[in-house]
Every structure is written in structure tokens, then in C-alpha cells.
């Protein structure tokens, strides 16, 4: 007679276990999908790029006399020198990525008419942000090196 209630117990126990395994499978599936998606993201995001290096040398300080503003289009950077102060300002327009050209008043974008002052501040047009300033340093060999990976604050000069 005692067998009947025991059977009901077993039945009641079985459902939570089945449910638990169901949850576990679901969680495992969701976890695997997240891992798979993340791995794909890591795979798709290149560790090394094959394009131009973001750190490059541009010559010696003597190559840039005071008052000069030289735009190096291949590197998309403009070297500015005022007395002893040197700076590298980005020539990539912050609007839609065209190359800005140095002008009398600063920089001018040919694509959509954005205008910047000599420091790269937006003075007109659709550009949302000022032009970036890049770290510029003097290597032990006496050459100037620009690092486009590190942006510095506007008005930070290298004194040479």
C-alpha cells in the first residue's frame, strides 16, 4: 500500500529535474551563442592592420622653419611650426573623412564646406568636432615622430 504515494513523489521529483535540465540546456545554448558571437567579433577585428603605420617619422626639425604649415596628404597630417613650438594637426575632416586643405584662415574641407581655424577649431560648416592634434616627439636620432594613435589636447606643443 505504501508504494502508491512513493510513486507520486517520484513523479513530482521528475518534473523539476526535467525542467532543470531544460533550463541548463537553454543556458548552455545561449552561453555558446554569446561565446561564438564574441569570438567572431574578436576574429573580425584585426589585431594588425596592413595599411600605413600610425607612427611615422617626418624629418628633422630644421626641415620645418618657423611659421610654416606643411600638409602631408599621404599621412593625413599637417605640421605646424611657430617659433620653437611644433605640432601635428590631423587633416582628416571630422565631418565625413575628407582631407582638409590649409587655407589663409586655417583649414578648409573641399567636400562639404567645413571650415576650421589655424588650431583646428570649427568655424563653419557641418563638422561636429575640432581637428585632432597628434603626439609629436623627437627621437634619439634627432628626427620628428608623429603618433596618430595618441591624440593630445589642442595647444600642446613640442618645443625644439
Amino acid at each position: 500500500m505504501g508504494a502508491a504515494p512513493k510513486q507520486i513523489d517520484a513523479g513530482a521529483e521528475q518534473m523539476p529535474r526535467r525542467k532543470f535540465l531544460g533550463w541548463l540546456s537553454g543556458a548552455a545554448l545561449a552561453g555558446s551563442s554569446i561565446v561564438a558571437m564574441f569570438s567572431t567579433y574578436v576574429f573580425m577585428k584585426p589585431r594588425a592592420t596592413y595599411g600605413q603605420p600610425n607612427r611615422f617619422r617626418i624629418g628633422r626639425p630644421e626641415d620645418f622653419p618657423s611659421g610654416v604649415r606643411v600638409s602631408i596628404d599621404t599621412k593625413r597630417v599637417c605640421i605646424v611650426r611657430d617659433g620653437a613650438k611644433l605640432a601635428a594637426i590631423s587633416t582628416t575632416c571630422t565631418h565625413l573623412g575628407c582631407i582638409v586643405a590649409p587655407s589663409e584662415t586655417g583649414f578648409q574641407c573641399p567636400c562639404h564646406g567645413s571650415q576650421f581655424d589655424v588650431d583646428g577649431n570649427v568655424t563653419g560648416g557641418p563638422a561636429p568636432k575640432p581637428l585632432a592634434w597628434y603626439q609629436i616627439s623627437l627621437t634619439p636620432s634627432g628626427e620628428l615622430e608623429v603618433d596618430k594613435d595618441s591624440e593630445i589636447q589642442m595647444g600642446t606643443y613640442l618645443n625644439v
Binding site: Y41, M44, K45, P46, T49, Y50, G51, N54, D73, T74, R76, H95, L96, G97, C98, I99, C109, P110, C111, H112, G113, G125, P126, A127, P128
Partner: protein, 436 residues
């Protein structure tokens, strides 16, 4: 010996007929039953229903826009695969391959022209198809989710076209993609990494060309094909194209499929004669829920798919192919100078379907490029869940839907005007110019 020879001859003589009959299960139909059977037993035809409502066949109702989109996709697949045989996704070779298509590849020009114009046409026709579905109220229950799939297909079409835009590697391509991906970079938080992921580099270069190529020829078409299949399947499952209220049957209808079971012999001694006399037992094999064509109205409202629907489809296919061919013979696909990273054209313009975006971006970078478009897409996705009224389904510009239609047309008009301004009224430095 002679008997065997005779049967051999007989088999040989019957060979063509036997092979034909093994491929095509039915002779050309001459009866209604044959017409039904033809639709049913042919792989390609069984995608369609056996009978189709007359409304769905009226050119003035659908204008065949969905079908034209599909046929353009087929043309693009065929011409695209052919072009792949001569194309190399390399910054040093891609442009030369474009020149080769012009000079040394047989039919190279016409294939490239067809691919280019069909791609532009597909963007436009898919959008027009969406307008048709909205203006006829065809996204109402039970078709809500098929509208959502349609919006996904529209986005996939845009991306397919956009990724293909870079492949010729000329000035037009390079700067359009530079501008286009910069718009993506305005997205908050993910924008910068999304742009980097898409380009595989900080700027548009070899990595971007390879990535766009793989997306263009494999990933996007594969995803597009799957969604097209779901789109078509759901049209069937949702009861065909949307029909006006009078024809829409009661929703709660349930069809019952029954199968007659052979009576089970109770005892081994049971005589065969008793089997006939035994009562028939029925079991339910399945329940099918959903809208059906009413049995009573079958004759007047519907016609057989074979040949009515098939002929209609073939006419649309013919018109599409002829249209693409004529345009491709008359106009050459543009090919500008090879990429010069140092000299952006003034103005640099995105592909025409993104020029509305670019026009918005010139007012506000974030809101024009990301905020407003994201909001618009979200609203598009939610259309069938916002508009829950069931009135005015299956008719153009139904009076009950005057508000919904007005809102939608305003949205369409604003975007068209922005695209027209961006395309024709913007000159050097994105200043306003008159094209006249």
C-alpha cells in the same frame, strides 16, 4: 532471342517518353484536376497556391513590384556571378579589371551595366513595393511579421548595393564609401568600432575592399536569400496577398484533416466480409488554423495558378529583363578615375539612396546621420504594431486609412525631397546650386 530483342527495341523507342514522364509527372493539363496537379507536383510551381485570387493578379493592385524586386535580385545574382569570374578584390587590380571588362571581356560592358542598373533599380523598386504594401494596408494582421521581414529585406538590399559600390575602386567608389562609413562612425558608443570592423582599418583601403567584397558576394546575398524564402513562405501561410474585407474569411476557422483508418481485425477468425461492414473510424491528423478562401466563393473570386499566375509572372519577368537590357544598352555604368586618396572630389557624394542621409548630416552630424534614421527605421519596423485598426485592407488609399497614409506619404516625401536636394542641388563645398 527475338522476343528479347523486341523488348529492347520497345524500351529504346519508349526512352524519350519515359524519361520525360519521369521528370514531369503530369501531361500538360487540360482539366481543372490536371491544373491543380501541375501546381502541386512541380517543385517550382508548388511554391504557389493551386488557386489564386483574381485581386492578386490585377496589375493595378500590386503593380508587380514585389515580383520585379525578386527578378532584379535574380538578374543581379546571375550577372554578379559572371562578373566574379573576372574580378579581383585588390586595390592594385580591381580598377584594371573594370577596364578589362570594357575592352577585352566579351559582353563585359553589358554585364557590368546590367549589374549596376539592376542594383540601383532594386533599391528603388523594393522601396516602391514597401509603399504599395503600406498604401493598400497589407501589413495588417495576420501579415504583421511579414512586413517586418520586408523592412529587413529593404535594409539588406541597401547594404548589398552599398558594399558593391566600392568594388570598382574608382574615385566615385572610394569617396562614396569614405563618406558613407563616416556616417556610420557617428553612432554613439559602437560607431567607431563598427566603422573599424567594417573597414578592417582606420581608413578605406585594401582591407575594406576585401571585406566589402566578401559581404557583397557571399554574406549579404545568402542572408537575403533566406529572408526572401521566409517572405514568400509567409505570404502563402498568411493567406496570399491581402484582400478587401468582404473576401477575408472568418479568422477562427479551423480546417480538419481526417484520415480513414482501416478497421482492426479483432480476432484472427474474423471473416474478410465483415471488414467491409465494420464501421469506419476517423482520426484527426492535424489542425490548420488561419485564413482560407471560402469554399462557396471559390469559383468567382479565384482562378487556377496554372496558367493564370504563371503567365502573369512571366510577363513581369519579361518586362523586368527588357527594362534592364534597354537601360544597359543605352547607358554605360559610370567609371571615374582610379582612386586618388589625396584628392577628394568636390563635393564627395555617397550613393544616391544615402544622399538624403548626407543632406541631413550636413545640418547635424549625429541627428542627421544616426538619430533620425534609427528612429525612422524603428518606426518602420513597428508600423503594424502601432496601427492596429483592421479597416481598409486590400484597397489603395482606403478612406479609413487616410491618416496613416498621409503620415506615411509625408515621410516618403520628406526623404525623396532630401535625396533630390542632395543629388541635384548640392555642388562644391555642399553649397546650394541650381541644376538648371
Amino acid at each position: 532471342m527475338t522476343k528479347e530483342k523486341n523488348s529492347m527495341v520497345k524500351a529504346l523507342a519508349g526512352l524519350p517518353k519515359n524519361v520525360w514522364k519521369s521528370v514531369f509527372r503530369n501531361p500538360l493539363p487540360s482539366s481543372d484536376r490536371g491544373r491543380a496537379s501541375t501546381s502541386f507536383t512541380n517543385f517550382f510551381l508548388h511554391i504557389q497556391p493551386v488557386r489564386v485570387s483574381k485581386q492578386a493578379l490585377r496589375p493595378s493592385y500590386t503593380m508587380g513590384l514585389g515580383l520585379i524586386s525578386f527578378f532584379l535580385f535574380v538578374i543581379l545574382t546571375v550577372t554578379g556571378v559572371l562578373l566574379m569570374f573576372y574580378y579581383v578584390p585588390s586595390t592594385t587590380q580591381a580598377y584594371d579589371r573594370m577596364l578589362d571588362l570594357r575592352s577585352s571581356v566579351a559582353f563585359g560592358i553589358i554585364l557590368r551595366n546590367m549589374h549596376r542598373w539592376a542594383a540601383h533599380a532594386m533599391v528603388a523598386v523594393v522601396f516602391l513595393h514597401m509603399c504599395r504594401v503600406f498604401l493598400t494596408g497589407s501589413y495588417k494582421p495576420p501579415r504583421e511579421f511579414n512586413w517586418v521581414i520586408g523592412v529587413i529585406l529593404f535594409i539588406l538590399t541597401l547594404f548589398s548595393s552599398f558594399t558593391g559600390y566600392l568594388l570598382p575602386w574608382d574615385q566615385l567608389a572610394f569617396w562614396a564609401i569614405t563618406v558613407g562609413t563616416s556616417i556610420a562612425g557617428y553612432a554613439p558608443l559602437v560607431g567607431k568600432s563598427l566603422k573599424f570592423l567594417l573597414l578592417g582599418d582606420a581608413t578605406v583601403g585594401q582591407e575594406a575592399l576585401l571585406r566589402f567584397y566578401v559581404l557583397h558576394v557571399v554574406v549579404l546575398p545568402a542572408v537575403l536569400t533566406i529572408f526572401v524564402a521566409i517572405h514568400f513562405w509567409r505570404i502563402r501561410k498568411d493567406g496570399g496577398l491581402a484582400k478587401p474585407e468582404e473576401v477575408v474569411p472568418v479568422k477562427a476557422q479551423v480546417a480538419v484533416t481526417v484520415q480513414i483508418e482501416q478497421p482492426v481485425a479483432v480476432a484472427s477468425g474474423a471473416a474478410v466480409a465483415t471488414a467491409d461492414a465494420a464501421p469506419r473510424r476517423f482520426t484527426i491528423q492535424g489542425l490548420v488554423r488561419g485564413p482560407f478562401v471560402k469554399v462557396g466563393k471559390l469559383e468567382e473570386d479565384t482562378v487556377f495558378s496554372w496558367p493564370n499566375l504563371l503567365i502573369a509572372e512571366m510577363v513581369v519577368l519579361l518586362i523586368t529583363v527588357i527594362g534592364v537590357m534597354v537601360v544597359s544598352i543605352l547607358f554605360n555604368a559610370p567609371l571615374e578615375h582610379p582612386v586618388n586618396v589625396m584628392h577628394p572630389p568636390n563635393p564627395a557624394k555617397a550613393p544616391w539612396y544615402f544622399l538624403g542621409l548626407q543632406e541631413q548630416v550636413s545640418y547635424s552630424a549625429f541627428w542627421g546621420g544616426v538619430g533620425v534614421p534609427a528612429l525612422e527605421l524603428l518606426l518602420l519596423f513597428l508600423v503594424p504594431y502601432i496601427d492596429r485598426s483592421n479597416a481598409g485592407v486590400g484597397r489603395w488609399f482606403a478612406r479609413e486609412r487616410v491618416w496613416a497614409n498621409t503620415l506615411f506619404l509625408t515621410f516618403v516625401l520628406i526623404n525623396v525631397v532630401l535625396i533630390v536636394i542632395g543629388t541635384f542641388f548640392r555642388g562644391a563645398n555642399w553649397s546650394f546650386v541650381s541644376p538648371f
